[in-house]
């Protein structure tokens, strides 16, 4: 259990990673809507995922509207895949 990736193991962050794994990119509004997290809470989780280089955050404008676009990185995909493998084997052992 000590080897489990603590960054992904947290349910909110796992939800974010799983959502982003199904898209090339998504914005902050989509994640907020799908996760049900508040702006501040979501920002904090995204910050942690960005620090681990599991996601990329790009801030841009569409016309006059600010847009925060998020993308899962190859490192993030690998981490999610190995986390799932790890959890599956752990659950089998139980």
């Amino acid at each position: 259990m000590e080897d489990v990736d603590r960054i992904i193991h947290e349910p909110a962050r796992l939800t974010i990673m799983a959502l982003l794994s199904g898209a090339e990119e998504a914005d902050f509004i989509f994640l907020m809507r799908e996760t049900g997290l508040t702006k501040g809470n979501l920002s904090s989780h995204l910050g942690k995922l960005e620090d681990a280089a599991y996601i990329e955050i790009e801030k841009k404008f569409r016309g006059k509207i600010p847009l925060t676009v998020l993308r899962i990185t190859p490192k993030g995909r690998t981490a999610l895949r190995s986390y799932r493998k790890q959890m599956n084997s752990l659950l089998r052992e139980l």
Binding site: L14, L19, G22, A23, A26, D27, I29, F30, R33, I65
Partner: protein
């Protein structure tokens, strides 16, 4: 624990929920099919016959551009912006390849090697297009049953019911394909419009965007 597989399917489901994807695909198919059907009533000149095809293509491009604009300006500020990965290898593997394989088998089954001209089923092309309608219908039924989507099941039944109509009507091969395209695209476009309307009703424009713009 969150269901990772279910969550990773959400971006694609979201695009269908907003209605933009079915509306775009449905309208494009409907326009192309209608152009094929209109060729029958238009003068049999090159200008008219080719012109309607190019006109339909122009409309399809306009629809694609318009839908992109609706997605960016109307849908994304309300429900969020999502861009799917350009290629979906799994989707290609499980849907497109079997469809192509079954279509090829269908063609070979209907046109056995060595059959004299005029004697194979393919020569009168009456069964090929309805065959496609049945094939798409079966795929819709399978997917609808798998995803527990009653509307997709209804769409599958509709496509299977469309097949005898395509077979029965006295149309040319092009017109049959046109009827198939218009017949599959029309309901999809209506469904997309209804979905988009429901989505816009359920998700009013955010206040900060209203005041800003």
């Amino acid at each position: 624990m969150p269901n990772v597989d279910k969550l990773s399917r959400r971006p694609m489901e979201y695009l269908w929920e907003t209605g933009v994807a079915p509306l775009t695909v449905g309208t494009a198919f409907f326009l192309l099919g209608t152009a094929d059907l209109l060729q029958r009533i238009l003068p049999q000149t090159d200008l008219a016959q080719q012109g309607i095809k190019w006109l339909a293509l122009c409309f399809v491009v306009a629809v694609l551009w318009g839908m992109r604009s609706i997605k960016d300006r109307v849908v994304s500020p309300r429900g969020g912006y999502v861009e799917l990965e350009p290629s979906q290898p799994k989707w290609l593997l499980w849907i497109v390849l079997p469809t192509l394989l079954v279509s090829l088998l269908l063609v070979y089954a209907l046109n056995p090697v060595g059959s004299p001209p005029g004697h194979s089923l393919l020569d009168n092309d009456k069964l090929i297009v309805p065959g496609f309608a049945v094939l798409f219908g079966v795929i819709s039924l399978y997917e609808g049953q798998k995803r527990k989507m009653s509307l997709l099941l209804a769409y599958g039944i509709y496509l299977i019911c469309l097949a005898p109509l395509i077979w029965w009507l006295p149309l040319s091969a092009t017109e049959r394909f046109g009827l198939l395209k218009a017949g599959t695209g029309g309901p999809l476009a209506v469904f997309g419009t209804m979905r988009l309307r429901a989505f816009l009703k359920a998700n009013p424009k955010p206040v900060d965007l209203v005041t800003r713009g």
